[in-house]
């Protein structure tokens, strides 16, 4: 610090004078020459640095390519899609059996994921297995993965139902949070906890498969692939049909098609049971609903919308043609006049609870004409179900249907 101070003192002279001394007495050329020389030195240094870097990365890429056939970074082309020569029609189609045949509800269009595989009755996929993930990247798994890292809560939940715990080396830390996870108890003692940005830790765990979603930063994905790790990204489903496809898709990737089919069947059974209960419901008897959370409500194209629709309700937000997760103003709540308002059972802000949120709505003088408030039908369903990005989402359909039409479930 004394060093800084003494310099600062020495420079106490007006900078203008200092400069005049130097620059105005024909020192210009000297200074100019120095600047030029320094620039040149820097340029040379830059080029040298560059050569070293190019050498380093070039060699390493060669290593990683030879190290894992099938999974390679697009050799410097910058293309996120691996330039894979081994993709063959046979490999891609291996587990791709009729999608519609096993689909109980008859809706086979899923739109989720690359190959949209729904495996048939055969026990498991054949390895080496070539798959295309939801980002369109093609990869080959030589053997059924035994060291799996899951980087989303949804895949945590699906994986725990699909494979033996010993094959999982890491889950997300959300898996342990009872407020959002369906596997909080089950996940105890399974693997470690990692997030995508802990790249070094992920590499050090030496996984043979990393599962993430398409929201993940592709820089991370590429970095892991460059390190020789297979990364599979699935697309976050926006409805239960897509969810069904994701379960089957992940089951296929980990070589557990049979288990995947069991899970899908379980989902269909659950849905069918609710459907049967609601079959007596006439269209004009259907109640209206909306959700009201910290981050807004849910409109068209959301999981929530699909859940409440299957639970025999009409989502007023999507009926109004609103997509996504809008923030609905109080005026609109009054206008929409829903019969039921669903509040979350879990809040980002720990200061909020279901009771406090309900009371603030019930005591709001402006909302007294709203049907849900007049009839005291502000409900909450278990958050792990309704926010699930896994097969557990079907439980939310049951929860909502039971809360909305208790008389049908007696």
């Amino acid at each position: 610090m004394g060093f800084v101070k003494s310099f600062a003192k020495n420079d106490n002279i007006n900078p203008k004078q200092d400069r005049k001394k130097d620059d105005c007495r024909g020192n210009r050329n000297l200074a100019g020459r120095f600047a030029v020389r320094r620039g040149m030195v820097l340029l040379v240094a830059a080029i040298m640095l560059f050569a070293v870097l190019a050498g380093c990365s070039g060699r390493n890429r060669a290593d990683s390519v030879s190290g894992n056939a099938g999974l390679q970074s697009g050799a410097g082309s910058g293309d996120a899609v691996p330039g894979n020569g081994t993709v063959g029609a046979s490999g891609d189609g291996s587990g791709n059996t009729s999608a519609g045949s096993t689909d109980a509800s008859g809706r086979s269009e899923t739109g989720a994921g690359g190959d949209g595989t729904v495996a048939g009755t055969d026990a498991s996929s054949e390895f080496p297995l070539t798959v295309t993930d939801a980002n369109g990247d093609v990869m080959t798994l030589e053997n059924p993965p035994k060291r799996i890292i899951s980087l989303t809560l949804g895949s945590d939940e699906i994986l725990l139902s699909l494979v033996d715990k010993s094959r999982i080396v890491s889950l997300t830390r959300y898996a342990d949070d009872e407020g959002i996870s369906n596997i909080a108890a089950e996940a105890k003692g399974v693997g470690v906890r990692t997030t995508m940005d802990q790249i070094e830790n992920i590499i050090a765990l030496e996984p043979d498969l990393v599962i993430t979603d398409t929201w993940a930063d592709i820089n991370y994905i590429k970095q892991l692939r460059d390190s020789g790790i297979t990364v599979y990204a699935f697309r976050t489903p926006n409805n239960i049909d897509e969810q069904r496809a994701v379960v089957a898709e992940l089951a296929h990737v980990v070589g557990a098609d049979g288990k995947g089919q069991e899970l899908v069947n379980w989902m269909d059974e659950k849905l069918k049971a609710v459907e049967e209960r609601l079959s007596v419901l006439k269209p004009e008897q259907k109640l209206t609903v909306m959700d009201y959370g910290e981050l807004g409500s849910s409109g068209k194209g959301t999981n929530f919308d699909d859940i409440v629709t299957r639970a025999g309700l009409i989502n007023v937000v999507s009926r109004a043609g609103i997509e996504g997760w809008p923030v609905i103003s109080k005026e609109k709540i009054i206008e929409f006049n829903p019969d039921i308002i669903i509040l979350p059972s879990w809040y980002y802000d720990a200061g909020n609870t279901f009771e406090s949120m309900r009371d603030s709505l019930v005591n709001d003088p402006s909302l007294q004409t709203v049907s849900a408030i007049k009839n005291n039908r502000i409900i909450s369903v278990p958050n792990p179900h309704i926010s699930a990005i896994s097969h557990y989402v079907v439980l939310a359909v049951e929860d909502v249907a039971k809360a909305a039409y208790p008389e049908l479930f007696e």
Binding site: V4, K5, S6, F7, A8, K9, N10, D11, N12, P15, K16, D18, R19, K20, D22, D23, C24, R28, A31, F34, A35, R38, G39, L42, L43, A45, A46, L49, F50, V52, L53, G55, C56, S57, D63, G67, G78, D79, A80, T195, D197, Q198, I199, E200, N201, I203, A204, E206, W215, D217, I218, N219, Y220, K222, Q223, S227, G228, L295, G324, W325
Partner: protein, 349 residues
């Protein structure tokens, strides 16, 4: 040892720059050696030597080779280059506008880049290729600069005050557009954008190194040649002109170069806050206001500062802290400390 000073700037240079360079080398070694996963220092060196091809050691563990060569090295290099780029641009802008508050953000580079980033995220293009987001950010940044520049152009000359004011206005406007897009986006997209604005060096690969290193170093070298002109500009336009400088032309050129550098840097690692403001000021306190010394010192200082902050950011075992947070949290108090100390010492600032 530095008690009396009739140092000329070159003598000072010979003293200060080697010290800073040594510090930088030390920081870089530290940065490669430290991280979330422990790799012994000696082995880190062997891994690097092995990869350059100087030694051949097949016994090196593969995961550690990946960690050093694919994760840490590119990251450290980008940190050095970005730190140097941002702080030199800060030094130049402060000199250019004779305004101690000027930093690359004044030109709307950050907000323009932010708009580009959010557009690439919400359109889903950012998920297609690792180059899309940097490209959008760079285009946004340069677009914002162009608008601000045209607004402040008057009869072929730039009015510095108009430039700063219109910079603030345009930035605010672009920020509002960005926020408008944000409220229409889903949680994941918002998250991605917010993380981007924090400025981060995680996920840096050789692709980013290639993207940023060459243009930035060349342009920095170009800036260095203007250091004498920058000194002249401190005298005011009229005096500078009487000494044979065309202030308007110089200013335009410098603006072009700095905005190019900043755009390239920000497009790769996000708007890392405060580096452009604090490092030049610290260096000015340390080495004085002469740009011939200030610019190279800022380059080295910026590289040291950002690399150092990044080391701290990736130390926590349970997840990283974005480097932009560290730069601001460490930088601001240290800057204030320096400021107060220097004031007490009676030195002019």
């Amino acid at each position: 040892m530095l008690k009396t000073g009739n140092f000329t700037v070159y003598k000072k240079m010979g003293l200060v720059l080697p010290v800073l360079a040594a510090l930088l080398v030390f920081t870089v070694i530290l940065a490669v050696a430290l991280g979330a996963v422990y790799v012994p220092l000696g082995r880190s060196f062997r891994i690097i030597l092995d990869n350059i091809g100087l030694i051949d050691d097949p016994t090196l563990p593969g995961d550690q080779v990946s960690i050093i060569c694919m994760v840490r090295l590119p990251r450290v290099i980008v940190a050095c280059v970005a730190g140097a780029a941002l702080s030199v641009c800060g030094a130049v802008m402060q000199g250019l506008f004779r305004n101690p508050m000027a930093d690359p953000g004044v030109l709307g580079v950050s907000s323009g880049a932010g708009l580009g980033a959010i557009i690439s995220i919400t359109t889903g293009l950012a998920a297609r290729s690792i180059y899309t987001m940097p490209m959008f950010a760079a285009v946004g940044a340069l677009g914002a600069v162009a608008v601000i520049y045209l607004l402040s152009l008057r009869r072929g000359r730039i009015a510095p005050l108009t430039l700063i004011l219109s910079g603030i206005a345009v930035s605010t406007f672009i920020g509002a557009v960005t926020q408008f897009i944000l409220i229409k986006s889903n949680t994941y997209e918002v998250r991605r954008y917010v993380f981007w604005t924090m400025g981060g060096l995680s996920g840096m690969m050789w692709e980013q190194v290639r993207l940023v290193t060459f243009p930035v170093l060349v342009l920095l070298a170009a800036l260095m040649m203007f250091s004498r002109d920058l000194n002249l500009l401190q005298l005011g336009d009229e005096e500078a002109q009487s000494l044979g400088l065309e202030p308007s032309r110089t200013r335009k050129l410098l603006l072009l170069i700095t905005s190019l550098i900043t755009a390239v840097t920000i497009s790769v690692c996000g708007p890392v806050s405060f580096v452009g403001l604090i490092v030049p000021h610290i260096m000015r306190l340390a080495v004085g206001p002469d740009h011939r010394l200030l610019i190279p010192a800022s380059a080295l200082g910026g590289a040291i500062f950002l690399t150092g902050c990044d080391i701290l950011g990736r130390m926590p075992a349970n997840g990283e802290i974005h480097v932009g947070i560290i730069t601001a949290m460490l930088g601001a108090p240290y800057f204030l400390y320096l400021l107060i100390r220097t004031r007490k010492g009676g030195a002019a600032f």
